[in-house]
Amino acid sequence: MPESLTAPATTVGAPDLTAAEVEWIDRALIDESVRTPVMFFFTTAQTWLLAATVIGFICSIKLHWPTFLGDWSFLTYGRLWPAFTNIFVYGWALPAGIGTSIWITARLTRVVLRAPWIPIISGIFWNIGVTVGVIAVLAGNMQPYQLLEFPRQASVLLFIAYALIGVWGVIMFHNRRPGHIYISLWYLVGAFFWFPWLYASANLMVGSPHLHGVVNNAVAAWYAQGLLGYFFASVGLGTIYYLIPKVIGKPIHSYNLALLGFWSFEIFWGLTGMVRFTGGPFPVWYSSLSIAALILLLIPVGTVGVNILMTMRDDTHMVYHSPAIRFTMYGTVAWLVGMVITILGSVREMAPYTEFTNFQIGSFQLLVYAFFTMVMFGAMYYIVPRLVGCEWLSASFIRLHFWGAGYGIGFMILLLIISGLVQGSCWNAPADFKHPTEVLDEIMPYLIGRSLAWIPLIIAHFLFFIHFIAMLLRLGQPSGEPTLFAPIPEGEHKP
């Protein structure tokens, strides 16, 4: 296989072609080679996103209307909620990230993919795994650990699928054309390595007969936290570092800052798992260590933030023109805000008020939706036209998608964060809120508001799905000029 992958893409470089033309053909060949696997991952991801949207909305309704669809065990809240989070994470977010990683890796290593069946087989395994896992959860066959609910049969399939992708990614990296390794590749190669490793060790350990008592919970927390950093943050930031300079046509502000941001993030984030159990049945130093590591994360938050914002400083008007930039910048800001909120919510003084409340769901959605998912939307707006050979049908569709997703998730996260603090404060005031239902009464308006916040999200997701299907059917605008919100003034760099 290495031979087939190392074949240079420039064999077509006939002498009468200019360098720019060779470059263009080169890119076209690389894009052509990854088209089927990337579009396969994107299409399945979109489909799961719709499923997650419907199930998430039902979950939200059930919290203020508990008898809604309440007569069947497979639709009980305790099963629908893990089904929703797992579909969102393993059905939508990871495959969207995998598709984006494949494309960016191929572009950055400048290797023509000669074995597209490897990632396609992987995609098939992955989706069978998610289907099996979701059916098992709805049938009640699950583990009680967050994001590890899928039973063994499903997790084995997911592992095989990602291991194939990981091996493929590392081979691509190994056969890259010589030269500088761009920062995005650091993040993506990291994710190719880390996720299968993390997933395999967590699944082999948690629930095995050799692991006793709360060690299971410690490893499960290590996994759930690791997934956020080693996959979502890595792929998301890697994509941001690729898309922004590409669209605005300028290099990143500082390469050294980027490297500092990369290593400090990955090292410190890996130690933060135990913030999920402050005050829990563990030795106190576990959570103290994790809180300290989390505070040190202000270093990468600062460096990555400064670096991206400085890169964008003269081109902020691009958020009015380019869909890719608008979604990506939303994601960048959400990452910075999400990290700061996660850090603030985890310090020892705050933990009693944020732990086991909606605050946790809010900060999770900040990182997995407002950051990662928005960046993936931006990446799809950039990548898909290059793969299918036509441009997005309608700028209004994209605009509506942005407003629906951006405002919907922003409103929902705000409600979750505030209601979490209310919920935590009430639980901690037993004299004033004696009965659990009195605590619920306090957060009820927020729970109803959260269902309302789902409405723009539902519209956005269905609209994007239709728009995406139109692209699959090649119903877009003719190739050439990208679909922008507004034309870019003369003399500016065009994406």
């Binding site: 305790g78 909620w81 410690a218 490893v219 409340t357 005031a429």
Partner: protein
């Protein structure tokens, strides 16, 4: 073959550090915990349970109760769990050595259940009894108006009374009552689940958890719902 670049060793080292600190160290430190044994008093805690309580734990897992209920009590410096009457001491790693799987949970839309089996309401002695739990599971509004807990009607069945009524048959008011000659009885799953819930008790003193407190008088009802 190009030599593997620095990035691979770095990636390896980052992951290994995280794995060792957050997975291997807990496994070594907490994986071998033994129960507390006082041979003179013939006192062993915790005890490995099996039978209906273990099956009830499986029902708890399968119904996804962890989505709203925790089973861990934080100490006085980490919140008001003790003031709320959720326990007489914080829970520690030793409490869970025989639990499989461990149901620490991650969300409190409902109360903590670590000590639901030993919880008492001085104003209402019927509260937290098996009969109360059956009614609460069948229709949470009968015992806790305003609760958002889902009904677990599907864990009960409508059966014709043959001879003596079942002692666990639900005592349902008004229009919820079954047809004459019929009774609503818990299925095996519901019986196991209630056996599990009423067995939940982490109040046995343990040295590492500090001294037990007296349950606060004002919040004796602080556990479950109204």
């Amino acid at each position: 073959m190009k030599p593997p670049p620095r990035i691979f060793s770095g990636i390896l080292a980052v992951f290994a550090l995280s794995f060792v600190v957050l997975a291997v160290v807990p496994a070594l430190q907490l994986g071998g915990l033994q129960p507390f044994v006082d041979e003179d008093a013939g006192d062993i805690y915790p005890i490995d349970v099996s039978g209906v309580q273990a099956q009830g734990r499986a029902v708890y897992v399968s119904q996804g109760c962890v989505a709203c209920h925790t089973e861990q009590v934080r100490g006085a410096s980490d919140g008001a769990d003790l003031d709320r009457g959720w326990g007489v001491r914080r829970t520690v790693a030793r409490d869970y050595i025989y639990e499989r799987p461990v149901l620490l949970g991650y969300m409190r839309l409902g109360p903590d259940l670590a000590n639901i089996g030993s919880r008492k309401d001085p104003d209402d002695p019927d509260k937290y009894t098996p009969a109360w739990h059956y009614l609460h599971l069948y229709n949470p509004h009968l015992t806790s108006p305003g609760s958002i807990m889902p009904s677990y009607k599907f864990l009960f069945e409508d059966r014709k009374i043959a001879g003596q009524p079942d002692p666990d048959a639900l005592d349902l008011p008004g229009d919820l009552a079954p047809a004459p000659g019929h009774q609503i009885v818990p299925t095996t799953e519901a019986r196991d689940l209630v056996a599990y819930l009423t067995s939940l008790d982490h109040s046995h003193p343990l040295k590492e958890a500090g001294p037990n407190i007296q349950p606060p008088k004002t919040t004796g009802t602080g556990g479950a719902a109204k």
